[in-house]
Symmetry: D4
Subunit: 250 residues, 8 copies
């Protein structure tokens, strides 16, 4: 509803002063002691609020998970520890936990997955980040194909799966060490590549800085980068892109 | 054509050994003295090869521009100096040059622009990078809306243009100094935000590192980042996303 | 007392050579084995000496806390562990500990809080640093309003509290990840903003460096920055500013 | 005017729909081709918009300077080159230029300077940044005392001027190389110290990073930091603090 | 000659005290005013001393070039400017200069090139560094095959030349931007890859740091790295390896 | 077998379509759930695939070790913990573990070691990295001489072993702290020096960055560098060089 | 003994070939399995070899401590853990351990301390590093005066002890956080100041980098810097300077 | 004169109140417009104030040079350009300029040089920094021996001059690139080594950072470091050490 329309309806009495004031004060959130839950986020962005669990105090985490679960009938948490899962499970018995991706999830039944996102990793050690990306995208309704361990030290493994990758609406490239996978993919596909540097490696990888710089400086086109180890962020933006392709917006 | 199909046709004599060998040797490029022009790139990626002019020797630049122009009837160069433009103009009289974006361009008439990309800047000094992004996207067939000087030091300027931004298939956020524009946009739109850090600023901006880190660490979702001052890269991936929306791929 | 005055009184015999010498040797501190307690600090700066507890050996911490408590009848310690609290409590039974801010405190009754400081955070995870700032300012006599979880990923939450923020004499902006909150606040208020980068985040936040650079490079005016996670420092300087406003000094 | 009041007056017909809509759309800026002049900034922040001249295209600079000068009858530009000054002077003959601070200024006669800010430098080479701070503060109505060349390599020079420094409402500490001046001042005064690292020095000063880190990590209290060489920012926040002291706000 | 042998001969009178002392004082260099020419270097390392021209004072450069040319009948200089070349040419008329690699060279006729080194570049802009490597290796007697512009953004160009690369005794991989070429080569050949990061690129390439980190962190095996833009160093060590292969040392 | 030969044999019926297709699809790896074992790596590179154990999940490690052991009758793992060793030992009883180098190894009897690699360390604390290099090279068939604790703080220790070092086909220089050993060796030998920076040291060594920069910037020739603490990588490339010398390839 | 003298005596038969050869082969160290003990170090440098205990394997540490203790009748170890102390004590019952400095020491009775070194710290938390410096210097025969907790946040504490500091032959300045103490001392004394940055602090101190840069960039003269937390190194070089003053060398 | 003595004399009337006050206000400097000349510095530190010329405005430089020259009859300036020299020469005709070290100097005749400092460089390109160190030390009365071009790539050149180096009271080690010279010297002499990293080199030397880190992390003892290219600082502290040796202070 546009501002002009709100004002018109208010003048005509169709909405009360309280309603009009509420609109203009723009407070679509729920005040809690420790947080302001962004309850209108789904309306604004098309995605419900997701909980970053790591580092949250137990009581805060419980409050927020319960509130969101009550509101939406489903909830997604990232970077959860097993201990946090066990804590939450006492309140929401059906909640699920994946120790690889560290995702905590209660999902309403019956959702359909559409489009396609290809999630690729350079090595086995990048799988936890890739799974965070893949499961996030699936939670938000994207179909995902996993293509793991196709890094450039044995590049024929990548070529053998190239058709499956070229077929996707968006490619997520997850790689640590020198992160060259993103550049190679950027040169081989015609869809956006979302590159996720990981902290996998040692020595002068500087906890992922090396892979981040590689990906940001790529000589190939069609690559954009998210934070180190940020599988969630990659799954989110890949879903935005996948939705655009699925729904069309010509 | 699949490998199996090539082999079948070869065995049946439909294609010669030379044709089959050529397929498998995969050489779709034109060998020059200083370069290997990637002439099949448009087939592979949907985009023709583009020339990064900065630092190229004069004779190399001329050779490559002419070869691509002859092949495609149009050509795009980025980071060109005025001197390079004057050099090329002697060979391709109709070529155009924009001193703000430093783009060198000869474009076939009659192209249609579709979809919509919003290119936003935080300040006036970010316009050169934004124009590189905008003109790149336009060259590749995207419709672009420019929304400049809407940085967070006067955030009401951004809100006044919010509808125009939310309407696009993809938002390009160009900002230097602390680069906070990308985070604010990420919280306000439901489409992918491609963030371009710029080297605008001074002191501890470290030639754009500050804005790059800001954008990579954004607390908002739906943001991915390209290299510092890389307007071209942002225009490219934004066009990929815009095309997906325009064409649909459900 | 001015130097000239000391000399005059000394010549006239009003003060002894020992007193004069003491004045000029400037030794207003108490020598302990491990420290030189700055007992004149309150006179010089308007604030008593505060104890940074982290990393202090047990016996040193105990000695210093007791000495200051005996002298002033109250004491403030920052970055205290629960174990340190339990240790000190055996000597000063009434001492209080807040596990969120890690502040250790014994406060004389009856102090009045004046003026107003607004302490804002971007997210829930920034609350420990914000509480260190808020409780430090309160200890030193400032009235504090807490406005938490108003980061830029849902900027309407900030606007709903804007009046309360604009009302303060000084705003403390506490944010990790990309730290954009400080810039947004700088553009919306007409009072000094003391920005506190936090180490909250992961990946390329480099333990708070990203937020620090963001805040130092802010395109908005009226922002100055303290060290990463330095809530105490922010509460201190905010109190200095608040006192100037309360007392006036035209 | 509060939102509720706007709505009430609108319902009663005291203000038109256009006026109400305008209020809520919050567009207090003037659209130019290259910029959105923040014409309500003075109302919002108490300071008019100031022009950062460095790197602006000639036509852009001229447009913006003239527009602001027409609107306000005075104008302030920072980081201006002599060439830019000569350009602007053709349009605004009375405009003044200081080659040390690189400030470009046309000021309405008759302003009064109130309160007091002490601007200190460690060495002679820090004077350009200090002058930018001092002249900015003076333009905004603060009285300024300059205390230059009092760095720690000859600390008695600082002590000889200590009373003049302790007398101010706010101290600006400008220092390059190792930047220790800020820490020493922080230990000697009871007012806020705004520290400005400069790029003065060589070798491992890394263009001011060394001084920035020194100031951010200061062991003394009451210090907050602005960007490297950012005299303008220091003069701005020092004026905010000085105004609070002058006006009082108990 | 071993120490024991020297001593034996000295005792027997076969060599004089001066000769023995000279041996033990180990002074196989020629003292000049500005330098100590390492005239025994060829004996010790198999390579004559080479002159790094950049930044040398004119008179120093001339002295050193002439001395080495007189001694060896040939001379090699790297990073020479055209002006330096013109200066030296007045003394050594037959000396040659290549403006791409900036190599200054006078070579005795009749040398034979043996073995094979493959020098590869990612792009056209990396050619100057590659030529420094190639011409250094050729000067020292290696046969070199140049394979330029085979970067990962069009990886089929690399595959088309793979046999020529796999055939070499050592591969030099020269790449800027993200430097992924080295990793891809490391996975495809069974010979040592000497990786040379270049400063080609912009933004977050940090003058070659990005490519350096990529190459040091490579997930592929058989890669070792030299300094940014250090074509000379790569040509040198590649020649050492090539010689081992040519001469054998089983 | 060349592509042309495959095609000819296929046309003549000597190989089936399946065989030909397999050749061109290039899939010489074994698909596992968590990995794609690069089973043709030995053919391509002359070295079997080696397992980087650190951080691998237990079940993944076990699967991969067993698969490779079954295939090759021997297996090499690096960076293994004692716990991982004990786990693997239950499946492969004869497997061996060295707690210094953290190498896990089952080796077929009867291999011959040829050529010579000298592995040198600056100090005692560098021995674990040096042993990883030495044992890797031995596993791959190189003869290794260990020369430990010959750093530059007592350089006569190095000279006493110089003949043994000069005798090798390749020198591995392992050093932490300031890493000067590599430069000194580079000036004294005529064979390639593979430099391995280690994270040994403290303070401004920044976990090996200092040694890495030293080695990359060496003023001596014939030095190339691998990642910090990457003994395995040094042993690998040293073996490639040693093999070239042993086999000859003139 | 000079080389010429050795040769002369050898020719005359005064020394045998073995003796002469030994001289020239320069092997004044004792070969152990894990180390080459530099037994002539005291002759060469005036200081016996000292053991850096941190990270040494138990058996290596024991071997080395015992060997040196047997040779010299005394021994010094730095960075020793309590567990290492207890281990060594079983072999050398009289050995002493200081948990603050982590120094392990067995000292022959009767040594005299001469000259004077002043060891100053900025705060209490810098004492462990300062004690390592002080006890190292004392072990090597210097008289030491400790002046702790005299940092710039309360600079009068420093002035009260200035005479004691100015009296020393060398001043060791130990400081973390911003490390300004070294600059202040450099401006107040006429003797060399050895500055030791410590890792004390938090946030943007980057584990001592901030203090290191401060000290290296000092605007005061007469300051040279050792590694972060390197109390041992400071005590060593301060002793060299103190000895020069005590012994004289005109 | 001690504080107690001043007070006693004042009480007895031997000195006036003005004299006493002056003592305690400690103002031994001369106020100029742009600077506070530290005229008592020679008394306090044993060295007169020296002028860092680089970046000083012409009129400021002239004023300061003349004032110091008038006061002391001699003057020393560092980092002077030829243009600055020509400017100053018009006022002080006898002043001398050395274009290598960029030192500007007028020296009273008849000074004696005592003791000995050895100034060593790794290469020819390090000579300008070494000359700044050497000429500074000579200006302050030290005897200097220059030993240039003795870097580790040909370490026998260093050994041939070892006696001359070991003979000095203090060694200044000037080196760029990887800076290993300081470590090697530290292991060979028993006197303090003042290490000066230079910005000589390229690529990953990061303008001297590499050499700085090498020298700070040296495994050898007796080394302390000054800023990159800071020859002046090294000459200063080396002179302090040399004076201690010459004068003795037992």
């Amino acid at each position: 509803m546009e501002a002009r329309e709100v004002l018109r309806q208010f003048k005509e009495g169709a909405i009360s002063m309280e309603e009009a004031e509420h609109y203009f004060r723009r407070e679509p959130f729920e005040e809690m002691e420790c947080a302001k839950l962004d309850t209108h986020r789904e309306i604004r962005s098309g995605f419900p609020e997701v909980i970053y669990c790591s580092g949250k105090a137990d009581e805060h985490l419980l409050q927020i998970v319960k509130k969101l679960y009550e509101k939406n009938g489903e909830v997604l948490g990232t970077r959860a520890s097993r201990r946090q899962y066990e804590l939450v499970r006492e309140e929401i018995p059906g909640i699920q936990y994946d120790p690889i991706s560290r995702i905590l999830k209660a999902k309403k039944p019956g959702g359909v997955k559409t489009g396609k996102i290809a999630v690729c990793t350079a090595g086995t050690a990048d799988i936890p980040v890739a799974e965070e990306a893949a499961q996030t995208a699936e939670y938000f309704g994207s179909r995902v194909e996993r293509i793991f361990d196709v890094g450039v030290s044995g590049i024929h493994r990548l070529f053998s799966r190239l058709e499956a990758i070229q077929d996707a609406n968006c490619v997520v490239a997850v790689a640590g060490m020198e992160g060259a996978l993103a550049s190679v993919l950027g040169g081989l596909v015609d869809k956006p590549v979302i590159a996720v540097p990981t902290s996998v490696g040692y020595g002068a990888n500087f906890q992922g800085l090396s892979a981040l710089l590689t990906m940001v400086n790529s000589c190939a086109n069609g690559i954009a980068v998210v934070n180190i180890d940020n599988g969630y962020g990659a799954g989110y933006i890949a879903t935005q892109i996948n939705r655009l392709a699925v729904r069309g917006n010509g």
